[in-house]
Each structure stands twice: as C-alpha cells, then as structure tokens.
C-alpha cells in the first residue's frame, strides 16, 4: 500500500491543503485505488516554505509546490507505476548524522543487554586488545577534540596524563552542563548512559586510571538515576570492578553531584567541588592533567566527548577522522532553541553551514519573521549575524567570527530581539554565577552590567560604549578562569555586529526592536481600532480603557510597556514607538 503524506509547508494555505487532500482521495477512488493508497495530512514533513508538499512512501519521493492540477499525473506515474514526476521532485538529503546520539531513542537506556546488542562495550573490548598506546594512537587518527567548549584534542590530553608517573590517576566526566538553552549532555546521559561509561573506561585504560567519577549537576535527576542504574548493572555483570572482560584492567566508577554552580563546569572548580571544597577555580598551571583531583593526574572529559570515544574505538579512528572537516572532525550535537520552528537537538557533521542547521533542519524562524542572528556557545560565546550564516561549522571558523562552538547551545534570534538586551541577559547570567574570587570578573562584570542597564534605559552615553569595550578587554586578559575570561564575549560580539543598535539606544534613546521597555511607548490608532477590547483584557496594569463605540486608549502614566497589547491586537491598531 502506498502512503501519500501531505503538508502545507508555508502554513497559510489550510483550505487549499484540505481541498488537495479531498481531491486526491476522490481521484484515487475514481480509479479504484482506494485500497492501494492512503492520503494522510502530517504535522511536519521535513521541508519548509515550499507550498503544499507530498511525500510518497515507500519510495520516499518528495514533491513540492503542488496544486490540485498535478494530482492525476502523480497518481498515474507514481502511485500506479512507481515512477518519479521529475519536475516536482525535491532532492532532499538528510543533513543530520548521529554518532554521539546514535542510540538515543533507539534503545532502552535502562537495559544493558540492548546496549550490548548494538555493539556496546565492543569498543572497550578492542581497546583492551590494543593496549593504551594504540588507543591513544587511534584517538590521534580520529582527531576528536573536546566537545565541552575549549576544543582541546582529546588524544593529547590523554597522552599528557599517561606520560606522568603516578600510582593513582583519575578520569572525570564533566556533566555540569550549565549554559542557558544547552542540554545535549543531559540527553546523552539519559538516552544512552552506557556509551558514556564505556568511553570513560576506555579513557581510564589509556591514561592508566583505575577510578572514574561522574560529576553531574543535581538538576538532572533522571540522568543521575540512569547513570547510577547503569553503573550498578555493570558491577553485577562484571563490566566494572576487577579483571574487566577477562583482562588485567581494573576500574571503578562513582557519581558526585554538582549543586548547580555554573563555575563548577570549569575544571579546577569542578575538582574543588568533587573534593568537597567550595567550587573555586585556581590558577593553572599546574593543569589537572598533571595535578588534579587530590593532587593526582586527572583527565576531565565532557559527556559528548566520551560518548564519541566508544564509537571511535569500535569503528576505528580513521573512519571517524573522515567525517567533518580538517581540524574539526566528527559530528557535533547542537541544542537548537530560541525563535526557531523545530527546537531540539540536532547532530550534524562538522563543516555544515549555519544556514543549513537553522533553515533546513530547524525549519527557519517561526511565523516567518526575519532572522537577526544566532547566539552560539552560551554565555562564553557570541552572536553571529545573518550575513555569516554560510560559514561552515568548526572550532576555528566560529572563533574567527568572534563566537565559539562552546558546548553546543545555539539560540536563534529574530528581529524582535534587541542586541543590548541579549548581552545584558548573558552578562547578567555570568555576574550571578561569578564565584567572586578574582577582581576582574567580580567587579568588571558588575560594572559592565550597570552600564548595559543604563543603556537599555536610554540613559547611556557614547562614552559608555568605549568603557564597555575597555572593561571587557581587561576582563578577558586578567580574569582567573574561563568564566571571567569569556563572560564579556557576548557584549563584545554584539558591539562588533550591532553597533548601530547600541548607538540608537544612546543617541536617539530608541530601541529599534522594541524590546527595552523604558525606550518604547504604546498608543492606539483610533482609525484602525475596532473596539474589540482584547488589549484592555490582556493589559496587566489596567492602563487601557474605552468602549466599542469610543474605541480604546492607553494611559501612558499607567502603562508598563510590556507589549502584550501590541502582540494581541489583530488589527495592528497598537502603535509601538
């Protein structure tokens, strides 16, 4: 039986789609094909802004920009003969590639048998047969770089720790994912816990560690529960403990919970937290690879990095190294959120363009508003405006644009988002999360936030913009840890790309996107107003009064500039200035 999946991909042709569906079904019936094909309207067909789209199963042909006139031809050629209608066909390739998320949604995360059935722990078996040097060699071929943000080559990190003499070494999994809007680590921990455990065991074997520690934030209770369950079952099955898989390799794992401080994702603060101390970073060197947990050599790897390692060892470093681009191999999971139609996790090979991620996979901005930029790398990253969307994704390419890959948060901003407001949000986050140990971060961050607030209230001066830049540079150079060094990035990158918007705030005292509440005022155009009263009903300040005949007015003294009346008015009668 053939299935014809149909959808209106523009979102504005509801009736046309209904007619198309009825007409298709009728024509099938007229030809006596009612039992040979089913027409189904779907929620998302994976193609956007291409009118009415049909996908024929099992062939998988996708036809775009359809109208009822083409139905007969589709039935004759495709439904009856299985042939393509060439001029309607869309050649669509799947842009996603799942390595880190390979088992998420496929296996039951609480069943070790299912993980073993999809080649689980085979990478470890291979690693045990190879021995530590060859494992590191394999990782070098793969070219995997840390997925937590900094992008340090994993093999190099391992090699340094391996080279240091010591009876006791540690490997820690950093599951303290704290960037606003980023949750790929949570998803991997919850969806495929054994792959992370396997990666950690391989890492332990390579560096000569016998103890692994999961550091997971307490806000992820389900992730913690699933990892704990996975560890327990590994012990009962003999996959953890002594003489793993019949070898001389011994390895133990335990969990430590993070109490929700953002700074504890920084490796030296993380170590302090695991030791039971306050989560303060300390100056490096010595790096944790040399002197880490309890003064012993320690490797800290991110969740996604570890999930990739089990894959690399099983499939070989060379195969992994072929994916992606030179210098940035493999895939990266991004948490695509913000003003995008399909928010969620996407995993793509490195080298794909930002445009493909946002438009082809994410489906573009909802309500077809204009896209402004994307924010990558969370509070340590920056914004990338639309003119750079054709940049291929990689560690260096994003850095050149003044942003970073980071742990993989990707927030889509549209024309209603204000650059000043965005940088105020991210800087505010870092000021809240600053541990307060070093002055540049503690004082610099607070002062920058004061200036940004001033600007968003329309009280800023041109001098303030210079000051922002000066403080930002001082913070980058003089802060103790990554948090302070990168906290000014969102401010610097918005200054770089959206200077005109900053200037509009300080010179004209206007917020072009209408986001900064103190700089916008609302009024009602009486000619357009129909007197429906929707605005008055949603107004939280009771600032709108009127009747159907007299129309409505806004009392400027009571108005708090929340913009709800503007959003709710169907007749564009509310004016924002």
């Amino acid at each position: 039986m053939k299935r014809i999946l149909i959808q209106d991909t523009n979102g504005d042709q509801k009736k046309a789609l209904r007619d198309f569906s009825v007409s298709f079904t009728t024509q099938l019936r007229e030809r006596g094909l009612s039992d040979a094909a089913q027409v189904v309207t779907v929620a998302d067909i994976g193609v956007y802004n291409k009118g009415i789209v049909a996908k024929i199963l099992p062939e998988g042909f996708i036809y775009v920009n359809l109208d009822a006139a083409r139905i007969g031809e589709i039935i004759e050629k495709t439904i009856q003969k299985g042939e393509k209608v060439q001029d309607l066909l869309l050649d669509k390739k799947n842009k996603q590639m799942r390595l880190g998320l390979r088992n998420c949604g496929v296996i039951d995360p609480e069943s070790i048998e299912e993980y073993i059935a999809v080649d689980g722990y085979q990478g470890l078996a291979k690693a045990l047969a190879m021995g530590p040097e060859k494992v590191i060699e394999e990782m070098k071929k793969a070219g995997l770089r840390g997925r937590g943000g900094a992008g340090f080559p994993t093999w190099m990190k391992w090699n340094i720790t391996r080279g240091i003499k010591g009876d006791l070494k540690y490997i820690i999994c950093n599951g303290d994912e704290g960037d606003p809007g980023a949750y790929m680590d949570r998803s991997v921990l919850e969806g495929d816990p054994h792959s992370v455990i396997e990666g950690m065991m391989i890492g332990g074997l390579a560096i000569g560690a016998t103890q692994g520690i999961f550091y997971i934030r307490a806000e992820y209770p389900l992730a913690v529960a699933r990892i704990q369950k996975a560890i327990d079952v590994c012990y009962t099955k003999g996959l953890l403990g002594k003489n793993i898989l019949g070898s001389s390799f011994n390895f133990d794992i335990e969990i430590r919970l993070g109490a929700g401080a953002f700074v504890c994702g920084e490796e030296t603060a993380l170590i302090a937290s695991v030791e039971g101390l306050r989560g303060y970073p300390r100056p490096r060197p010595p790096f944790p690879s040399v002197k880490g947990l309890w003064g012993k050599p320690t490797v800290i790897n991110n969740v996604e990095t570890l999930a990739n390692i089990s894959y690399i060892l099983f499939h070989g470093g060379e195969a992994f190294g072929k994916i992606g681009v030179e210098g940035s191999t493999g895939t990266k999971v991004f948490a695509l959120t913000g003003k995008v139609r399909n928010s969620g996790l996407v995993e793509v090979p490195m080298g794909i363009t930002l445009r493909e991620i946002v438009f082809d996979i994410g489906g573009g901005v909802f309500e077809n508003r204009k896209i402004k930029a994307i924010q990558t790398g969370g509070p340590s990253g920056g914004v990338i405006p639309e003119q750079f969307f054709d940049t291929p994704v990689g560690y260096e390419s994003l850095q050149k644009l003044g942003s970073i890959m980071g742990s993989g948060g990707m927030i889509v901003l549209d024309e209603n988002d204000c650059a000043v407001d965005i940088s105020k949000f991210y800087l505010g986050f870092c000021v809240d999360e600053s541990c307060g140990k070093c002055a540049p971060c503690r004082i610099g961050g607070t002062q920058m936030l004061v200036i940004l607030k001033k600007i968003s209230e329309g009280k800023g001066t041109e001098d303030d913009l210079k000051k922002l830049e000066q403080i930002a540079q001082a913070m980058q150079k003089a802060s103790l840890c990554g948090l302070g060094q990168t906290a000014p990035n969102p401010v610097l990158s918005t200054l770089k790309y959206f200077m005109a918007e900053y200037r509009a705030h300080v010179i004209d005292h206007k917020c072009p996107s209408g986001k900064c509440a103190s700089l916008v005022s609302y009024s009602i155009n009486k000619e357009k107003c129909t007197g429906c009263g929707m605005c008055a009903r949603v107004c939280p300040a009771d600032a709108i009064t009127g009747t159907r005949q007299e129309k409505y007015t806004i009392d400027a003294a009571k108005c708090i500039s929340c913009g709800q009346c503007f959003d709710v008015c169907k007749f564009t009668a509310v004016i924002r200035q």
């Binding site: 039986m1 299935r3 999946l5 089913q38 189904v40 309207t41 779907v42 929620a43 998302d44 067909i45 994976g46 996908k55 199963l57 099992p58 998320l101 088992n103 998420c104 949604g105 496929v106 296996i107 039951d108 995360p109 609480e110 048998e113 299912e114 073993i116 059935a117 080649d119 689980g120 722990y121 085979q122 078996a125 949750y183 949570r186 998803s187 919850e190 969806g191 495929d192 992820y220 389900l222 992730a223 099955k237 003999g238 996959l239 793993i244 898989l245 019949g246 139609r341 399909n342 928010s343 969620g344 996790l345 996407v346 995993e347």
Partner: protein, 111 residues
Amino acid sequence: MTIDQLNAIKEETQKKSAQNWIHVGYSTCGVAAGAKEVFEALLEESKARNLTIEIKKCGCVGLCSAEPLVEVNVEGAPRVFYGKVNKDVAHKIIEEHVCQKKLVEGHIYEI
C-alpha cells in the same frame, strides 16, 4: 564477564529483538510533556486487544518541541514518528496504525 560472554549476550538479544515495536521518548523532555500518560495508554490499549507488540521506553531522538514522541514500526505499514501525542492519539495509534495498518492523521513528524 569475558568477551565470549559479551558476544553471547549480544547474539541472544539480537535474536530476541521484536518485529513489531513502539518506542516512546522517555527522557526529561518527553516525561515533562506527558510521556508517562502516553506510555501507559499504549500499554493498556495493546493489552486490552491482546496484541503482541513490544512497547518500550527510550531516550530522546532530538525533536524536543514535538514531545511526547512515539515511533511505531509494525509490519504492513511504514515506520513513522508521531509527535505531540496524548492519550487520544495513543489510542488511535493502536487502533488505526497497529491494528488497521492506517497512518494516523495530523501527528506524523518526519525527522
């Protein structure tokens, strides 16, 4: 455990793998959107009809905005994802997709 035992588990589990199955996205995003209710509804409905179908909790496939997501694979119908599933849709999935081999209207997501 030895490598031979590991391989034995692998073979045995692969042999046992079900022909007809339903996967329910059961990570934080799915659970928050109501996956528990959906899972229970699917289980209840399939029991009431004495169906031999494996219904299993899985991790998140990624399209969190469409959670709860349910993937269905039964012989005689294409393998599809249903998104924004609730109790009613869960009943329809069993009744229409699993039993009648007809796809359910309005909830398919191509991922």
